[in-house]
Amino acid sequence: MNKIETTLVDLKKDIAAFYKPDLHHFMVMNAVEVGDKIEIQWFFSDYAYPCETTCFFALINPAEQIPSIKDIVVSAWVAEAELVDLMNINIENTAKGFVLEPDFESGPLRKKK
């Protein structure tokens, strides 16, 4: 696995430079808690043999707003909608309510202190 560090400001530029629809394939977005911050990961893989998995990651504070990559990768809206509900993070242009009911506690995957 090839891990590349990026920041929220450079995120869209890095992904737009890397992603080519006929060579790469977007898999999923993920979020892991590391101490007080959250590490957000974007996983890509190539359509070739032998293939390689590339992961762009960014360490953020829980309240920051993450830019959405829906205009570069069209099918990313499902992954973003899931993370917004389950981890209680903030992604632009994504509303809550895709996964959980409105009266459920938000962010069930966060560690309870």
Binding site: M27, D46, S75, L100
Partner: protein
Amino acid sequence: MAKQYEIPIGAQHISLLEPLHFKFTTENEKIVKTDANVYYVHRGIEQACCSKFKFRQVSFVVGRVCGLCSISHTTAYSQVAEKLVKIEVPKRAKYLRMLVIELDRIHSHLLCLSHVAENSGFEALFMKTMQYREFSMELLEAVCGNRIQYDFSIVGGVARDLKPQVAQSIMERLKKFMPQLDELVDIYKNNWTLLLKNKGAGAITKEDAMRLNVVGPFARAAGLAVDVRNETEDLLPWKEVGYEMITETGGDVYARNMVRLRELYVSIRIIENIINGLPETPLITETKAFPDGEATVRLEAPRGELFYYAKGNKTQVLERLKIKAPTFSNVAAMAEAFTGNEYGSAPAIIASYDPCLSCTAR
């Protein structure tokens, strides 16, 4: 402009096997826009695996995410846990895992084909395909001990061995199944009323498939040659046992049926090669290490690409587990595949896309 109506195909519907919900905006019965809602069976498995279960017990929990691709989940989790504790599995265990994955692919593809036939109105073909599928359930029971939840892969190897008389009965039953498969291919390819319902329905082009990142037989039917078995060789030796890629052009329901049927021939050949060339090594690698670091694994389930990410922290309980099911990647494409079709073909299109909502909304 004609009047627009919103019609749902709801969570409870007589033709749906899975609890999903689409709200169509239609104009004169042609669908214009779709809204999807797919999280009806969320059970919180990722949270349970990281708090309540030890890392060796998680392979049994994860096998119960889906009833149809149970072996894919247990094998993918075992592989990612083996990467975290840094052990290597013996060769006989790899071959046995591939055997059960291919037997599982046979039963899952036949189930999907029979469901497509039922939704197209051809009930007799649905019954016939289910009758021909029964032998694979009995073979899986003889190999793994159970018809559906085979707790076959564990961390470090495989739980049971393959006995010689079971291997012989597999070869005999497969020989009996080949003419039945030829008969099914003939009906799905040439029956006039079935072609009227399936040809041209729910089509997507190759460019759309690349843009929307679809996986599985859904993508291979549109001409996009993507299959995890073609792309990875380090964990399971697929090319050694005779794997070949099947693609079709057209991208409609007819092409998806053909891809699934032709993949059955490849699966039967792989099973015969495995049984004839099974190496003699032990079944399990023992270790006392705890998982540490992070790792990812991709595997080809019957519906597409399955992706696992795990992170350990040197204790018995994992820190984070992320599962991505194949249907999760196809939801976006599904919502776009409906536009331009009639409302009456919606059940057949949903069935041909082969959703597995238990995997998606775990």
